[in-house]
Subunit: 424 residues, 2 copies
């Protein structure tokens, strides 16, 4: 049986998860795959989980310079010093398996170039959706498809918060606090709730799906901290739920990339993705819609994907590289980044209670080519106060221009919510 | 660039679908995969879709004896003469890619033995869920998991019928007739509505998931033709939808295998799988729940999976074989096929309108260890007439024994429905 020596670099939650899962499944992997995975070294500064002393190393040199190590699992996270340590291993010809979304989203071309030079592999299934095998699916199951769209729930924390707000009718701040207490959200929740985490993952996903390097600075990003209980309730009345969606679309040269809260129909395949679950919905020209759903975080799901990469890499005689036309991060001149998306909008306004305000507001909408599908005033004695609009599909720029004008209008107290509606 | 010569055997809907998708995606596959797929020969008795004459062959010998052909795509379907033609190709060392669920479910060991002898590959992703990449996911993404359960909607026709009955409040016969007119159901619908199609697919799925050869005769099968509009309505009132589920569970030596209609919660990940869509939900010990969703039928989705297998096979330097311990179809002595499943039940009875009947009926239930969670009489003036029970988790054998006794009871006019409830 082929024996493969593996080193783990970083021994926090994910690193120990990998260690534990491999201990449990080692024999099964040998039986099913004909490969014996042997954890030869573990690099960390501190060891909070007990492993044999002989495995412990305190310098990455002990790994990169060890000719017996075949594959290095990086579970340190972050960019500094992780990226340099990964480069050190790739330069020594070690195949690297990582769950590090930020590093891959930002430095994939540089890392891949290093890997190519020594013939090492670079694998990162766990970087998007933890255990969910979405990158492998694109690579190895959709080869005969041109993928035109990606719609994904790829941040577990925000999906947990939005699910609780929806099912329990609670406020954002209240649920966030609970999520922090339970350890589902960080003390500084910005990386999740402002959309950074989803943005990194979308950059990786879209690059794979469109076979074109997508830099993160081309992705529009808007978080969920402005979502009110009231809007979730209105959405539900209209047959929608609100989710933080990561969306990428490609049509010929035109690409659109965005992370923002969106209303989707309760019958949409993503609507039943609850709590901290993730799901990625793709559309390919041959396969049609396909969705992969699972736990988007957690030590064991992440370990599942990491070890899947390890087994997969160990069975390769030659590693494949993405080899995008614009691999080194320069944008191909052929791509057009479209930010003037088209979709219906949900708009909630607080208006002065005065005759004629509705006509003033709807005139502004009309002046900006926005057609109204539904206008709703709720619980009012006179005209106005709070009013909700659902628009027909409208251009982003038209809507933003209308919003600017609405904000300046003397009859508008506040533009309380502007949420995009993503249709099936 | 590596050139791979491919032959298509059988040129009906799926065969022509493969041809069309490859024509469209050939260049993309070359760019992304570095492989040039060349359709060298097409075997059929009749050619309803126009292709160059030079490609047409009328004998499989022209394919099996052609040393330039690398991969044969089988899209004839059925067992006779297909299985012999596939064996002929495998014996000549041709890798075979097939969408033929019945052939694989029944003769996988024999076909794999033939493939092994010549070093040919045998691939059949399209045999389960058409384009949905579930077999590749098990093979290449869940290597570090012991899979304990499979719950799947893998028959599009029955899911279409049940969806229409649910959403439009229509009768089974009515919807079936419409499905037949639209071409979604066959003139003889038995293969779909009685569960055979799902049974073949479950045999393949469970074999892969449990790494153990599952013969079809060990799968319990019950179709949807007995499902009434009334039961779908009751289910909905209780928060359930009815789906035809294919279920496989393994716990140590114990295996259970069943295809039957089941009530699942409206929040269950499979509940929003509508129309002819399919989805497979797996549970692995590391990854937790994972679901893959997509079109379970159709020429292009099937072609997507077939061509994915072709590219995948072409990139392999050495083909892998399942190599189950009980590969040749003999059951390992270690397996115990459990048919005494445990789950809650929905039971609807028509009773005589007479005092004391409820007590007689509930006594029979109690005598068979069945605890009642909910008893509902609807729209009745006196005691009884129609009554619905939801039980706590009960053993299959106890319930079947109780049903036998109920049928013989003088107060029971009819046991109108017995539907298992599958909890999340």
């Amino acid at each position: 049986m082929k024996k493969v020596n593996v080193a783990i670099m970083g021994f926090g939650t994910v690193g120990t998860g990998v260690y534990k899962v491999l201990e449990k499944e080692k024999k099964n992997i040998e039986e099913k795959e004909g490969i014996s995975l042997n954890i030869a070294k573990v690099y960390s500064r501190h060891f909070h989980y007990n492993i044999p002393d002989i495995l412990k190393v305190y310098s990455v040199d002990d790994i990169s310079e060890d000719p017996d190590i075949d594959i290095v699992i990086e579970t340190i996270g972050g960019i500094e010093p992780t990226k340099d340590l990964v480069l050190q291993c790739l330069n020594s010809g070690k195949t690297v398996v990582t769950a590090n979304k930020k590093m891959i989203a930002m430095y994939w071309p540089e890392l891949e170039e290093a890997a190519k030079k020594t013939g090492a592999g670079l694998y990162f299934e766990a970087s998007v959706g933890a255990g969910i095998p979405i990158l492998r699916t694109i690579d190895d199951s959709l080869q005969a498809n041109t993928i035109s769209s990606v719609e994904a729930i790829i941040n577990g924390t925000t999906n947990y918060i939005l699910t609780k707000m929806y099912l329990e009718g609670r406020d954002y701040d209240d649920v966030l606090r609970e999520a922090q207490e339970l350890g589902y959200a960080e003390a500084d929740p910005s990386a999740d709730v402002d959309g950074y985490d989803a943005m990194y993952k979308l950059a990786i996903l879209a690059s794979k799906a469109f076979h074109t390097r997508i830099p993160i600075d081309r992705i529009y990003m808007e978080g969920i901290s402005g979502i009110k209980k009231k809007d979730i309730q209105f959405a539900s009345d209209f047959g929608y739920v609100i989710k933080l969606l990561a969306i990428a679309r490609k049509n010929g040269k035109k690409i659109e990339l965005r992370v923002h809260p969106a209303m989707i129909s309760k019958q949409h395949p993503l609507a039943n993705v609850l709590d901290s679950y993730n799901a990625i919905l793709l559309n390919g020209n041959a396969i049609g819609d396909i969705m992969v759903y699972g736990r988007g975080a957690g030590d064991f799901p992440t370990a599942s994907a990491v070890l899947s990469d390890v087994v997969y890499a160990a069975q390769k005689t030659k590693h494949k590289y993405a080899s995008f036309k614009n691999n080194m991060g320069e944008l191909s001149e052929e791509l057009e980044f479209n930010t003037n998306w088209q979709n219906p909008f949900y708009i909630r306004l607080d208006l002065l209670e005065r005759p004629g305000v509705l006509s003033k507001v709807t005139k502004i909408m009309g002046d900006h080519n926005i057609s109204l599908n539904l206008v709703m005033q709720k619980g009012l004695k006179k005209e106005a106060a709070t009013i909700v609009f659902l628009t027909y599909p409208s251009n982003e720029k038209d809507v933003q221009a209308a919003i600017q004008e609405l904000k300046l209008s003397e009859v508008v107290k506040k533009v309380s919510a502007v949420i995009r509606i993503i249709e099936d």
